[in-house]
Amino acid sequence: MSYMDDTQNSAPGSLPASKAATGAATSKKVNENATKRLQNELMQMMTSPAPGISAFPSADGNLLFWRATIEGPEDTPYAGLNLKLSFEFPANYPYTPPTVLFITPIYHPNVDFSGRICLDILKDKWTPAYNTQTVLLSLQSLLGEPNNASPLNGEAAELWDKDPALFKTKVMDRHKDIEED
């Protein structure tokens, strides 16, 4: 586990309590690659962050499970909203895409009511060249430009074009800040 190696060099006493938590990895080699890659992605996001998006591994120190936040872009119905997502990375990441879900309830043509997202780069169009940041940026743009051709939420897709005002109210109705963790 690469990050375990790294923690040996940090100040003594700050060793992770959940060191053993990731010991159950089935394929060590693959897992190591994934964590290394994710660590680098994290570093990159921290050093050159993109506006409006942020992500971080979950609080238990598991690098394969992240939480992300997208600020709703201006000029979209989601402006001013904080949308939370969860990323679950497979052990052979980046060769298979992460599973991304909206945790915050969202009213959007391409997102169903349990948060599942219909986005091609998370399915068949995934390549290892994508990373967490690009996925988040894609999602951010998806908020402003939904793909109404293949909606998961048909009503939303219809309203998007027909009645933006109603769409906005639906969005605001559906939205609920999840503070409690």
């Binding site: 790294d6 060099n9 940090s10 100040a11 003594p12 700050s14 994290l42 570093m43 996001m45 971080f56």
Partner: protein
């Protein structure tokens, strides 16, 4: 003693004395007689036999005075001789009239008992007197002892008296037949036995107790007083003993105890003689009466009983303690543990002689042996050699073994070379040394196996020829089970165990002394054969490490150097590395905490050949000095030992660095390397050490871990030689194969070599940390010394083998950059001369360049003309591929105009050569050769670009230079736009070179060009305070020395700032996404997990950082000390 309860009220209760109460505490061991009760001599049948002794019994030894008072206050008049026949005896008044048989029997009883009755020795005074004045009671006892003899003589004369006794005895024996009417019959022998016991308890025991009490008191009093008088009275021991304890206060402890033992023996002998005489006369009479010969067995039984009695009573008191002291002393002399210093009094040195194997025919040994033999036999005769003696003897011998091993082999670590053994063995006096050699010679005829060290051999020899011999002798004297061969082997292995324990204790010092202590290692190797010992070794060594090495008083360099020794030592000790693996974790954990450990290792790896040679030379000098010192005195080894101790002290006392020069020098490398790293990398490299004489070379030696470089070179050749090592496990022809050690782990794999470097690097934590550090050092060196990187290349190649090509790719690129730059330099120069020749060499997009003005190009303050031919004289740049080099901060300052022109020209040439490339100049990283033409001299200095720029600013503006140029730091700041600290540092640099002179501290310091050296002390212009300024010079130098460090600190803080920003992003991301609120522990944990390269902050640093953020309003603390991001209002 407490078990002995004597009936209280000695006098008034005497008639009722019951012997059972006397020995109530010993019922088990003296069961043969204890249960039977006998009346006192002449006591009437109707008398109350069983007195209520228990109620009145007082321990007479614990409370003698109380019993004495009781005695005095007794109203009943007491006869002086309680055992006198007929005493208090009222014949007939209780018998039924006509029972003549009974009367006759009683009369016969009276006759017999009065004849063999034991004298009440020391009859006159109270029993307590025996304790207060042992000498007196001794005399009284001897008197008492003579009493029966005289009586015997008298009896011989008075035949009829004897005849009467015999008749009465036979009457008593045959009472059944002759006096059938006498119903009350008693056993004469049984009565006598109880008599003896009573006598012993009443008179002998107090006497013995008094003696040992006195000895104990004497011991206390004599402590610290009588050391010098040691042995003066040794040969007069017997007389001392005979004369009582009068000389005790003046004699040595041994003498005193000897006296106690001897007098005890005498007392007991006297008492025993007395007892046996009575018994014998009884037995003789009985024999005659019965006509049988079979009662000798009873004599034996009696003897055994009485011996048991003696042994029991003696063991209670201090007699056995005294015996132990005496035994220890004598055995010590015989076994050579005491050393020969006592007998060789005049030659006695300050240390005395270490224990050594004594020669067979040594006079003292023979005397001691004889004395011991006599003593043991005597003790045996009086019955003091019971089980307790055997235990005592075993204790003494055990102690002897420990002392011998400790004394004879502590610090004797020489290799098993026989010649060397002589020298080391003779660490003490010449006599001891010769003894050592001869003993070796006697046993050394057989071929010694290579693995057996001299210590082991001599120890085995000692056990066999001295130790076991003494054992056998003593055991035969006391008729105990003799020693078998198996016992001997057990003894030997016991002794080897002691040796192992000793070596384990010394192991840390052995490690420090590597490779001089190979002999000790062989001892250890041969003796740590059990898992328990191996565990003891690792445990004790780990502890020693913690106490003596792993504390802030030791520099990282010293720890690492010791670590190398540890690796080597343990490899010699245990090829399997299991032991090393067991002690390593603590050390590694500590090393990881040391920030500079990686740097020290890398610097050591990259040490140049010159440095290695210099270090070797220093070592040679040290060695020579030691040899010289060794030749000057016979106690070379001892002195060396002392030195080692001092060194060890330096290790163990972190606070007292002042006392030891070593400790202070250890600290320097830390600051040095830090300085080198943080300040400009092109600080002029120190000249090779071997030119600077031994003193400087020594300092140099301390500064670098050159051992590593040496090892690296060696291992390179080794590895080539042993390339086919891989199938070592399958080498069926390997006759030295040994199975894996028992304490090896499950996944244990036999390592091939000691592999110091590998072990060291793996100890420093993760690979990438090491590689990053290595890259940084390499970068520094590549920018610093332009000529050759052979050493770097070699180290790089070796490291590649260890870590793989990919890991060290950066270094490859860096080296290639430098090489390419050289080619490029010549090309650009050619192109600048001729026409542009664009070529398309693939490279890395953005490049940095460091100007490298080699040559006689730059600023000369005197000559204002700058020759134009400079352009081909040497403006070189190094093109660095930005991605692969460590991040360098750009330091802004204005270059001198001519240099700037050259730079522009070069840049143009480069851009012609490689289109789409842009150069970013890192001006502060260059080197410059400066030639200064002053009025009376020319100075040529290699310095860095900042220094060159500063001195250029002092260039005279016109030819008419009547007054030297004078500038203030503040002015220079405006002129050069360079950091003031750096300007000041550069000025001080030139001041040290005696080119500039500081004349004032105003405006950050005013400097003037020192045109003539003779001007140095002349006041400049109207400045009257010049004299002071010169005096201040010394101080300024110190300030200058501090200068670069400040610059470094400043740069560091830039880096730190960057780090803080990144960390803040992490924390923000964490608190946005992972969890809205987090306690500091979790934040620290998450940072530790997710930050690449490790989270370098301590808990406290993180806390203060978070505290700052709270103050800034970016964070808030919510319940439970958790941190939370403050929400931006507009987002909600």
């Amino acid at each position: 003693m407490a078990g002995l309860v004597v009936a209280s009220a000695w006098r008034e209760q005497r008639r009722k004395r019951v012997f059972q109460s006397v020995f109530s505490g010993e019922a088990t061991s003296t069961a043969t007689v204890a249960g039977v009760q006998y009346p006192d001599p002449g006591q009437g049948l109707g008398g109350s036999i069983l007195g209520s002794a228990a109620g009145h019994s007082v321990d007479p030894y614990l409370a003698p005075s109380s019993s004495a008072t009781l005695g005095h206050s007794s109203p009943e008049p007491q006869p002086p001789h309680p055992y006198a026949p007929g005493n208090e005896y009222a014949p007939g008044n209780e018998y039924a009239p006509g029972n003549e048989h009974q009367r006759a029997y009683d009369q016969a009883w009276e006759v017999v008992t009065s004849r063999v009755a034991l004298p009440a020795s020391a009859a006159g005074p109270a029993p307590g007197a025996g304790e207060s004045s042992p000498g007196l009671s001794l005399e009284s006892l001897t008197a008492a002892q003579e009493q029966p003899q005289s009586r015997h003589r008298r009896n011989q004369k008075v035949d009829e008296e004897r005849e009467q006794f015999l008749q009465c005895l036979s009457l008593l024996e045959s009472a059944e037949a002759v006096l059938p009417e006498a119903r009350e019959r008693r056993d004469v022998i049984g009565w006598y036995v109880s008599q003896v016991r009573a006598h012993f308890a009443m008179w002998v025991v107090p006497l013995l107790a008094g003696r040992s009490d006195t000895a104990a008191a004497g011991t206390l009093a004599a402590q610290g007083v009588t050391h010098r008088r040691h042995q003066r009275n040794k040969h007069s021991v017997d007389s001392t003993a005979a004369g009582g304890g009068r000389e005790w206060s003046g004699g040595s402890q041994y003498d005193r105890h000897m006296a106690v033992v001897m007098s005890t023996i005498e007392t007991l002998e006297g008492a025993l003689g007395m007892y046996f005489e009575g018994l014998n006369s009884l037995l003789e009479g009985l024999r005659r009466a019965s006509g049988e010969e079979d009662n000798s067995s009873f004599g034996m039984k009696f003897k055994r009983d009485i011996h048991a009695l003696i042994a029991n009573s003696a063991s209670q008191g201090g007699v056995m303690g005294s015996v132990k002291v005496v035994l220890t002393k004598l055995a010590g002399v015989i076994l050579g543990v005491e050393g020969l210093m006592v007998s060789l009094g005049s030659k006695k040195g300050p240390w005395g002689a270490p224990p050594a194997i004594p020669q067979e025919n040594d006079f003292d040994v023979l005397t001691a042996k004889r004395k011991l033999g006599g003593l043991v036999k005597q003790l045996h005769n009086v019955g003091l050699t019971g089980e307790r003696f055997e235990v005592l003897f075993a204790e003494v011998m055990n102690d002897m073994m420990s002392r011998f091993v400790k004394g004879a082999y502590a610090g004797v670590w020489a290799a098993s070379d026989p010649e060397e053994g002589n020298v080391v063995g003779g660490a003490g006096t010449a006599a001891a040394s010769s003894v050592f050699t001869t003993s070796r010679g006697s046993g050394g005829d057989t071929t010694v196996p290579a693995a057996t060290s001299s210590c082991i051999k001599s120890l085995k020899d000692w056990v066999e020829n001295r130790y076991a011999q003494l054992n056998v002798q003593v055991l035969s004297w006391i008729n105990a089970t003799p020693m078998s061969l198996a016992d001997l082997k057990a003894c030997q292995s016991l002794a080897l165990g002691r040796l192992a324990a000793l070596r384990i204790q010394e192991l840390f010092d052995i490690v420090l002394a590597w490779p001089d202590a190979k002999g000790a290692l062989e001892d250890l190797k041969a003796t740590i054969t059990t898992t328990a010992r191996r565990q003891l070794l690792t445990a004790s060594f780990s502890k020693a490490l913690e106490q003596r090495l792993l504390h802030p008083g030791c520099s990282t360099l010293e720890i690492l150097r010791t670590y190398i020794h540890i690796i080597k030592t343990f490899h010699a000790l245990d090829h399997s590395k299991v032991l090393l693996g067991n002690i390593e974790p603590g050390l590694q954990l500590y090393l990881v905490q040391r920030e500079d450990s990686v740097r020290v290792v890398v610097a050591g790896l990259l040490a140049s050949k010159e440095e290695i040679e210099a270090a070797a030379k220093v070592q040679q000098i040290d060695e020579d000095e030691r040899l010289q010192r060794g030749a000057s005195g016979p106690r070379a080894a001892a002195a060396d030992l002392g030195r080692r101790e001092i060194k060890a002290q330096a290790y163990s006392t972190p606070g007292v660095a002042a006392g030891s020069s070593t400790a202070t020098t250890y600290k320097t490398p830390t600051t040095r390397s830090r300085q080198g790293r943080d300040s400009n990398p092109s600080t002029p490299a120190p000249a090779p050490a071997h030119r600077q004489g031994p003193v400087l070379a020594r300092a140099k030696k301390v500064n670098k871990l050159v051992e590593l470089a040496k090892l690296l070179n060696e291992s390179a050749s080794d590895r080539r030689a042993g390339a086919t090592d891989d199938d070592q496990e399958l080498d069926w022809n390997d006759l030295n194969w040994v199975p894996d050690p028992v304490d090896a782990g499950a996944n244990y794999k036999r390592p091939k070599s000691e592999d110091v470097i590998g072990t060291l690097i793996s100890a420093l934590g993760a690979e990438d940390v090491f590689i990053n550090e290595f890259t940084a050092v390499i970068a520094e060196r590549l920018l610093g010394d332009p000529k050759s990187f052979e050493q770097e290349m070699r180290v790089l190649n070796l490291l590649k083998r260890r870590f793989g090509e990919a890991a060290l790719q950066k270094c490859d690129v860096m080296i290639r950059d430098i090489q390419e730059s050289r080619k490029l330099n010549s090309k650009i120069r050619r192109n600048n001369a001729g026409g542009p020749q664009p070529s398309n060499i693939p490279g890395q997009p953005p490049v940095l360049a460091t100007p490298d003005n080699k040559g006689k190009s730059v600023a000369t303050p005197q000559s204002s003309e700058k020759s134009k031919e400079q352009k081909d004289t040497g403006y070189h740049a190094r093109i660095l591929s930005r991605m692969y080099w460590p991040a360098f901060e750009k330091e802004h300052f204005l270059l001198p105009a001519p240099i700037l022109a050259l730079q522009k020209q070069y840049e143009k040439g480069y851009e012609d050569l490689k289109s789409d490339r842009k150069l970013t100049w890192l001006n502060q990283l260059g080197q410059t050769r400066v030639e200064l033409e002053l009025e009376d001299r020319t100075v040529t200095v290699d310095c860095d670009t900042i220094q060159a720029t500063v001195i250029y600013a002092f260039q005279s503006s016109s030819d008419s230079s009547t007054t030297p140029v004078k500038k203030a730091v503040d002015d220079l700041y405006l002129e050069l736009q360079l950091d003031e600290d750096l300007i000041a540092a550069a000025c001080d640099f030139w001041a040290r070179k005696r080119v500039l002179r500081k004349v004032s501290t105003a405006d950050g310091g005013v400097f003037v060009v020192l045109e003539r050296l003779s001007d140095e002390n002349v006041p400049v212009g109207e400045d009257a305070r010049q004299g002071q300024a010169v005096e201040e010079k010394g101080k300024e130098k110190e300030a200058a020395a501090a200068g670069p460090k400040e610059g470094g600190a400043k740069k560091l803080s830039d880096k730190e700032k960057e780090k803080r920003e990144v960390y803040w992003k992490y924390i923000q991301g964490m608190l946005t996404n992972s969890s809205v609120t987090m306690p500091i522990n979790q934040i620290a944990m998450m940072m530790g997990v997710f930050v690449i390269g490790g989270f370098s902050w301590s808990h406290e640093e993180l806390q203060s950082f978070l505290g700052e953020k709270v103050e800034e309003g970016a964070l808030e603390v919510v319940s439970g000390g958790k941190y939370k991001l403050v929400r931006k209002r507009e987002n909600v």
